[in-house]
């Protein structure tokens, strides 16, 4: 009996000790890191162009107030992501980052929203090769000396997904060994506005700086908004065939503390307006085809 009581007391002491140790460690972590693990609110990073999505979620307390920016360049760096629970980005950026990482960095992403990629085209500067109908093939075949098309920055998550359909056209069955990287490089170095600029910046340049770009590839809602704004008549937003969807995802960090109630649409409703602002319809879409991440990983290596 005495032994049993002693064992219970030791066990209780161990539990109390463990609880104390845990609270000390948590206090230290709260002091030492920009995370909110102690409060149970996930710490989520966003790519720079999706920062308003993080801001909106943080404002409603759905994620921690500290919302770092994270792009492809550091998304596979263990030191850079160790304090994160998730990353809001464009699919398939987590897969590309995983291809770069020594250990798996990101778990299966959750779809937050999507939209077809379209072309915002200046009314007075339509590429000659796309007069009849706009296809990814005609954009890939347009002469960069004649026409500047705003594609993305291959080093950025937002950019590589905008490049994806054109790069697909410049290869056979997404086999990177068949990619015409010289042609792709020429198209990417064509834009008069900086290559590093996102769809919003390039679309704004097309609208506000006559003669800067003939077209900009971007998600439908964003391009529609630019085309129908107060300067309507400068450009139109046109579908491009075959349809290619851009998808915003939330990728949980592999080994992270989880993403709380962000797993379903209702838990992310605070971000709906920001997602539409980024050009996608919330709670729609699906993950990219399995082979896209590997293909874009190679594209990025070749032209990034």
């Amino acid at each position: 009996m005495r032994q049993r009581v002693t064992a219970i007391l030791v066990a209780l002491a161990l539990v109390v000790g463990a609880a104390y140790l845990r609270s000390v460690l948590h206090d230290d972590q709260a002091d030492g890191n920009a995370t909110n693990h102690g409060s149970g609110t996930p710490v989520v990073a966003c790519t720079p162009d999706l920062q308003p999505v993080c801001d909106a979620l943080a404002a409603k307390g759905a994620i921690a107030a500290h919302t770092p920016t994270l792009d492809l360049d550091r998304a596979s760096d263990p030191a850079a992501i160790k304090d994160l629970d998730g990353w809001i980005t464009w699919d398939p950026a987590p897969g590309i980052a995983d291809a770069d990482a020594t250990d798996r960095a990101w778990d299966q992403p959750l779809v937050m929203g999507s939209a077809p990629m379209v072309l915002l085209v200046a009314d007075n500067a339509r590429p000659a090769s796309c007069r009849a109908k706009v296809t990814w093939g005609c954009l890939a075949g347009s002469a960069p000396t004649e026409t500047a098309i705003g594609l993305g920055d291959p080093r950025a998550a937002e950019g590589i997904v905008r490049i994806a359909p054109v790069a697909t056209e410049l290869s056979t069955d997404r086999d990177y060994t068949t990619l015409n990287s010289n042609k792709l490089q020429a198209l990417l170095s064509g834009p008069l506005v900086a290559v590093g600029e996102d769809a919003m910046a390039q679309g704004t340049a097309l609208i506000t700086q006559n003669g800067s770009l003939a077209g900009v590839v971007g998600p439908k809602l964003l391009m529609d908004r630019l085309a129908s704004g107060p300067r309507a008549g400068r450009a139109t937003s046109e579908p491009v065939t075959p349809r290619f969807d851009a998808t915003v995802v939330l990728a949980p960090r592999a080994g992270g503390d989880g993403i709380g109630n962000l797993g379903d649409c209702s838990g992310r409703a605070a971000a709906d307006a920001a997602l539409r602002g980024a050009g996608v319809e919330p709670c729609t879409g699906k993950l990219a085809a399995d082979d896209l991440a590997g293909f874009l990983y190679q594209v990025r290596k070749k032209v990034g």
Binding site: D31, G32, D71, D83, L192, I207, Q209
Partner: protein, 614 residues
């Protein structure tokens, strides 16, 4: 800019924040820059000093005033106070490259908004060349836009086919080298084609037109290279265009004001055929406000002959008013946060609509373009149709180096007043300090390096009782010769001068002008640079009015008309006693510019500005 995921202890963050706050408060309260007085007192707020190009200084002051009074200026527990001050883009780029240490530069800026992002590239290249980190590397926000255009009086543009036929730099080059001039277009009465273009080392319009010219020969719209600039065809084309230049200068306002004044006299078509300016300037001119600044009580007067904007068919560049939050050692995190808040605020539609009223195109696509960007003011909101890529920084510097060789040569007589009053102290409160002549000599010597080797320059002094018989009003100390021969002797000769007698301003100016007309060289910019600190004083006061009247008539008659041999007289009114009104009339009579150095301490800058005309 991406922020990293940091693991910083809270205590350190708090401590750092306290230190930064203290530092920012200190820098704010200690700032004694030339902020606009109508902005009021910053109080305890952190001051965000902002160097802006002159054409938007009034606009930025208005926007800053609104921001400073708004809740957006509250950052954390404190507040920020944005304080813009006017600073020419080229001058600011150089001052930043030098660490912003010079006297009279104004306070060290947190935000820099030159007229064009070309200047940001030039700054970073200069810093890189001297082994220093970049200051303008972050992608800047362009909150307003205005394209470079070739402004032409409407009848002249129509003679070239405007508005139906595209016109460009190729047409300018063709006209510039045509011996028939405007006669080839059925207008012999307009004489030769004359182009106004500012100095690209100082002026954004000058720099942008240089980019446009360089691209025009290559047929490219992007990717201009140093090899392109070395191409003999490119060089020949540049020389053709430069050959038509009336004179250069640091601001486009000189051309626009001369145009406006001669428009009143009915001779504007003889002064200049085209001037490279920003679209905004065409709007201001056609509104009747050629300098873009409406002084209290100033009434707008629509010009008789309006200007129209030609958007070069080869393409053009925008002055994009970038807002750089400088990566400079003097910028702290509180200032950076305050700058970001201001930049965000002025992109909102309310601020952007205000921008439109100033004649700029809003950078926010959610604000429609409307009046005054319209044909009513000679501009076309649907143009330009082709945009040129701003070249890489190294190419930009090569472009400027090449321009020094290609620009139109000058034939200049420097005329220096060595009258007795030049011995007075430059600063009356410092009688032991340098005299006015000391500072003038220093400025003249330092600025002589602005001339290129084949510029022909002479040096003359004037005062009464000169010469062996003490009966001359001037003395030529160095004849007009190439600067490759004259530069060092001239520096030495200038240093040797000392104050003498009276100030025979009118007679000396007349003599200098007539001597220059006798040796007139149509392939060069012919000019007199006249520096004086006083009023006409030649021991014959009775004849003063007659002398001045004769002088002005001589200058005007020689400047106007098809057979004119325009010799520009650029005047510098030096010190508080100088006769600024008369010097202005002399400069205007030759369609040149009068410069004000009433504060002798500014003479070096003024001298440099004068020599930017060549």
């Amino acid at each position: 800019m991406t922020s990293s995921v940091r693991s910083t202890r809270r205590g350190v963050v708090v401590g750092l924040a306290v230190m930064l706050l203290a530092a920012s408060c200190a820098s704010g309260s200690g700032s004694d820059g030339a902020g606009s007085s109508d902005l009021g007192d910053p109080g305890d707020c952190t001051v965000i000093d902002m160097a802006v190009s002159s054409e938007k200084a009034d606009l930025l002051n208005a926007l800053a005033k609104t921001f400073n009074a708004s809740s957006e200026a509250k950052i954390g527990d404190g507040c920020v106070f944005v304080r813009p001050f006017s600073k020419a883009s080229g001058g600011a780029a150089q001052a930043l490259a030098d660490g912003w240490r010079g006297e009279g530069e104004g306070p060290q800026p947190v935000i820099w908004s030159p007229a064009s992002s070309s200047w940001g590239k030039i700054l970073d290249q200069r810093l890189a060349d001297s082994g220093q980190p970049a200051m303008a590397s972050d992608k800047p926000v362009s909150f307003q836009l205005t394209p470079l255009v070739i402004a032409m009086p409407k009848p002249m543009a129509q003679a070239l086919g405007y508005p139906d036929k595209p016109v460009g730099w190729a047409d300018v080059a063709k006209l510039a080298t045509s011996k028939d001039g405007w006669a080839a277009y059925g207008h012999p009465e307009w004489g030769a084609f004359k182009l106004g273009k500012t100095n690209p080392n100082y002026s954004t319009s000058g720099l942008s037109s240089l980019i446009g010219q360089a691209y025009a020969t290559t047929g490219k719209t992007r990717g201009l290279t140093s090899e392109d600039l070395d191409d003999p065809k490119t060089q020949a084309f540049a020389r053709q265009i430069e050959s038509a230049v009336v004179h250069y200068g640091d601001i486009t306002g000189t051309f626009l004001q001369n145009w406006f004044r001669t428009d009143r006299e009915g001779t504007s078509l003889l002064y200049a055929s085209a001037v490279a300016v920003e679209e905004k300037s065409v709007i201001d001119y056609n509104k009747g406000n050629p300098d873009g600044v409406l002084e209290p009580g100033e009434k707008l007067r629509t010009p008789r002959i309006p200007l129209v904007a030609i958007y070069p068919k080869e393409g053009t560049v925008y002055s994009d008013s970038p807002l750089y939050v400088l990566d400079a050692p003097w910028v702290n995190s509180t200032e950076r946060a305050g700058a970001a808040a201001f930049i965000k605020a002025i992109q909102r539609p309310a601020a952007q609509k205000q921008i439109l009223t100033f004649g700029f195109r809003p950078g926010n696509p959610d604000v429609a373009i409307g009046s005054p960007i319209s044909s009513k003011y000679g501009v076309d909101p649907d143009q330009p149709s082709k945009l040129l890529q701003v070249p890489d920084p190294k190419v930009m510097l090569d472009l400027l180096t090449k321009w020094r060789e290609q620009r139109k040569g000058a034939r200049v007589l420097i005329v220096l007043d060595v009258s007795g009053s030049m011995k007075e102290p430059a600063d009356p409160e410092n009688p032991d300090g340098p005299t006015k002549l000391d500072l003038a000599k220093k400025a003249a010597v330092e600025s002589l390096d602005e001339f290129k080797g084949d510029d022909e320059v002479g040096f003359r002094i004037f005062t009464t009782n000169l010469g062996p018989n003490q009966d001359q009003n001037f003395q030529d100390l160095l004849p007009i010769r190439p600067m490759s021969q004259n530069r060092e002797p001239m520096k030495s000769s200038i240093r040797d001068q000392f104050p003498l007698n009276a100030t025979p301003l009118y007679l000396s100016t007349q003599d200098a002008y007539q001597d220059m007309v006798k040796g007139y060289d149509p392939t060069r910019i012919n000019a007199v640079v006249l520096l004086t600190d006083g009023v006409n004083d030649d021991d014959d006061n009775i004849a003063d009015d007659r002398q001045l009247s004769t002088l002005l008539n001589t200058l005007r008659n020689g400047t106007e008309g098809e057979t004119a041999k325009p010799v520009r007289v650029f005047t510098i009114a030096y010190g508080k006693e100088a006769d600024q009104d008369t010097l202005q009339r002399i400069a205007q009579a030759t369609n040149a510019a009068a410069y004000d150095a009433s504060n002798p301490e500014t003479i070096t800058k003024v001298f440099t500005a004068v020599l930017s005309n060549f």
